[in-house]
Amino acid sequence: MAKRIEVSGLHAYYGGTHAIEDISMTVEPRSVTAFIGPSGCGKSTFLRTLNRMHEVIPGARVEGKVMLDDDDLYAPSVDPVAVRRTVGMVFQRPNPFPTMSIYDNVAAGLKLNGVRRKSQLDDIVEDSLKGANLWEEVKDRLGKPGAGLSGGQQQRLCIARAIAVQPQVLLMDEPCSALDPISTLAIEDLIAKLKNQYTIVIVTHNMQQAARVSDRTAFFNIAGTGRPGKLIEIDDTSKIFTNPEQKATEDYITGRFG
């Protein structure tokens, strides 16, 4: 169910602003890749180019190539809506749909795409909530509003919602930055479990988190204000955190800058 992502020569722009410059990397299937780097270096922007969410922002555009196995995500014939069904996303702030119950939140992606059979939906909702380690906590109140859960539960609900549409890849944009340490731990456990099935890319500001959850780590940096963000290096997480190739990476992870 997981696919490999190959990015080559990718640039992203917001109107006239060059946000990220010439990024090439490979993201392996069934693994966790973490993006680290200072604020404003383009990690989130790059993440959003991987499921064509970048172009949702007015004036935003992308140049370059993103291959998902053999499909070019930016080929003219490709429908961005189909891309987003294949590459799911979890956001920084938990954003369950406020008008919907827990059940409907998880079923939203399926229902809004035309799956109507109740028995099928029931199964997928249960599987997704179990997959997101939330089932035991909510199984008795599936009809209650999703926005009534705690922040950590809401974020797991959003993960359940994302995996309910059975994507190939799961992108996570700082999924724990609004959560307490206990909820963070719950999400990290979940990531470790999900990587058996999905290709996972996670943006994080927390370097311990990157070290804990990821197999590979990419370090992004920015040369100065107004300059585009760049990929400095990507390597196995253990190597990045112990013996990085680049001086900038070492400075960043040892806290000498940023």
């Binding site: 969410m53 987003r84 294949t86 956001f91 749909f97 809004l112 009534g148």
Partner: protein, 296 residues
Amino acid sequence: MSTPSTSLGSVSASRKIKDRLVQGLVYLAFALAVIPLVSLLWTVVKHGTARFDATFFSHSMNGVAGRDAGGGAYHAIIGTLEQVLIASVISVPLGVLTAVYLVEYGRRGRLSKVISFFVDVMTGIPSIVAGLFILAMWMLTLGIGKQGQGFAGSLALSILMVPTVIRATEEMLKLVPNDLREASYALGVPRWRTICFVILPTALPGILTGVMLAVARVMGETAPLLLTIAVTKAINTNPFSGPQSSLPTFIWDQAGDPNQHAIDRAWSAALVLILIIMLFNLAARLIARAYKPTGR
């Protein structure tokens, strides 16, 4: 600079006085705003109960002169309900869809700027001009319903209603957090489904309130109706043919008559109009509560 005091002494006298003074002013302002409102309601209820009876709700003014007792507003109530209902059926979809375009699709493009500008202009149209426009366009130029027509009245009311609905809906759609749009797009939900099933339901309570305000506003409009529905005393349930009555024009007609019976009828009609608007408001609130986003 004085040395900062470390003691947690009592609040100084001058601050207490200022606090009391401002508190008093706030209460005074509240009273000033409420007095005319309560007085208005009280006056309408006091005078309106005189003819608030079964005959009033079941009879028209057909063959009843101003000096006669009896008669009723049945024809006017029917007329108002039909005209406002038709006006709402025209302007709510038009207004909501325009607002959806402005917020979700237009995105400050040239076209949406032009539309916004004209909506602003339309908000400021005096109601009698809307009536004149329909009189000139619909009745005289197109020659439809020349003898007066309930539907022509609805059209005139729609002109007044549309900009209000657009503005209210637009504000509510802007309040829907962008997070929700992105959450929906990220699930691979197309934009139109996102709008129908995520954005509009989230904004629904606010949109309903806005629509109710628009309905309440046009329900009391008199001038555009005087020019279009060609006030009748008889019952006419068909808004597409022949003159109709309405509550505001009924009030205008009866209040202009020096006889006490007519004046009583005008007061009762005013009371009925207020009650109908209140009932509509209540209904909208109940619907809004049923769909209210919960939690947080």
